[in-house]
């Protein structure tokens, strides 16, 4: 069943079918929120709240455009709102693990093979990039998330953000340039 069929049925009263939409898009929606809102532990709760907003907005969907484009617009707007509301708290990925898991992680780390050092560098780099990403201004953060993390095409991004494809190209360039600048600053600071 395609998205539009499901939505028509949901609007006609078969509301439980909305779970198919959730299952279809939850990972991407979660990923956008997770990247955008600063890797905090309540991202799942925010993702659910966004889906609830989408559910109650279904009767505003015009069936003229793609449902996913319409839905991602809501996700992007809500992510921006959430990030603004709480002034984006930056925490490490490790906050998602409990103390017990931390201990296990250390054991795994010690037991790991000769790639240990390389893995440690990669992990550190990821951490640095994540922390830098959330420091970017919204326009840059969202375009990098959509393109480099979620792998949406230029055309899809243009539709979601309601901008021209050429603007996507330029904005991506500027976002990468800014990201590079901040990473350089962070690297110097850490040294």
């Amino acid at each position: 069943m395609n998205d539009k069929d499901i939505i028509e049925k949901v609007l006609a009263g078969q509301e439980d079918l909305f779970r198919h939409i959730v299952d279809r898009y939850k990972d991407k929606v979660f990923s956008i929120i997770y990247s955008f809102c600063g890797y905090t532990s309540d991202c799942e709760d925010i993702a659910q709240t966004v889906f609830i907003k989408i559910f109650y907005s279904l009767n505003k969907f015009k069936f003229e455009s793609s449902f996913s484009t319409w839905m991602y617009r809501i996700v992007i707007n809500e992510s921006i709102n959430f990030a603004k509301k709480r002034k984006t708290k930056i925490v490490s990925l490790h906050e998602n693990f409990s103390d017990d898991n931390d201990e296990q992680q250390v054991i795994d780390f010690i037991k790991s093979d000769d790639n240990t050092e390389q893995k440690a560098i990669e992990r550190e780099m990821q951490q640095l990039v994540q922390n830098t990403l959330v420091k970017l201004k919204d326009n840059y953060k969202i375009i990098l998330t959509l393109r480099d993390i979620e792998n949406f095409s230029y055309e899809e991004i243009a539709q979601m953000l309601n901008i021209h494809v050429d603007t996507v190209k330029i904005r991506l360039f500027r976002a990468r340039k800014k990201m590079r600048e901040l990473l350089k600053e962070e690297s110097l600071y850490e040294m």
Binding site: L11, R19, S35, E44, Q126, N151
Partner: protein, 144 residues
């Protein structure tokens, strides 16, 4: 090629958005410009690291828990799509009733205003029947 142009081309190249001709032109510039070569490496690294970011999956209970929240919120707010349709139906019915009532009652009311006009005409001999009649119809319509 100028470095400013090369920078934009580099960003497009890491997304494989350049034609063969453009790639050749960019490579020629990169061969002769150390700064742009560094930019190219950095842009490529940023893209690789971002695309490899480990984003945790949603929990297995995500969908069930979300559907429960939707059900609970509907119970507390009373919002249901079927109910919203009913609401629209009630609004439409109310509108039709008002229009029908206006059509039915307007002639009888104008007859009443005719009598009223007679009264006012006796009260103010200077006023014409048409003037008083029109004023009362306007007053009647304003009530709605």
């Amino acid at each position: 090629m100028k470095c400013e142009n090369a920078e934009v081309m580099i960003s497009l190249h890491v997304d494989n958005k350049l034609s063969l001709e453009e790639v050749t032109s960019l490579m020629e510039h990169l061969n002769s410009c150390k700064k742009c070569r560094e930019n190219y490496k950095d842009f490529k690294d940023i893209k690789i690291v971002l695309s490899d970011l480990k984003i945790p999956e949603t929990s297995s209970a995500f969908t069930d828990s979300l559907m429960k929240r939707i059900t609970d919120s509907k119970k507390s707010s009373g919002i249901v799509f079927a109910n919203s349709l009913k609401k629209h139906f009630v609004m439409a019915a109310s509108f039709i009733f008002i229009v029908a009532a206006s059509v039915i009652f307007l002639p009888s009311k104008t007859q009443d205003t005719g009598a009223l006009a007679e009264y006012y005409l006796n009260y103010d001999q200077n006023a014409s029947i048409e003037e008083i009649y029109d004023e009362d119809i306007v007053s009647f319509l304003l009530l709605y």
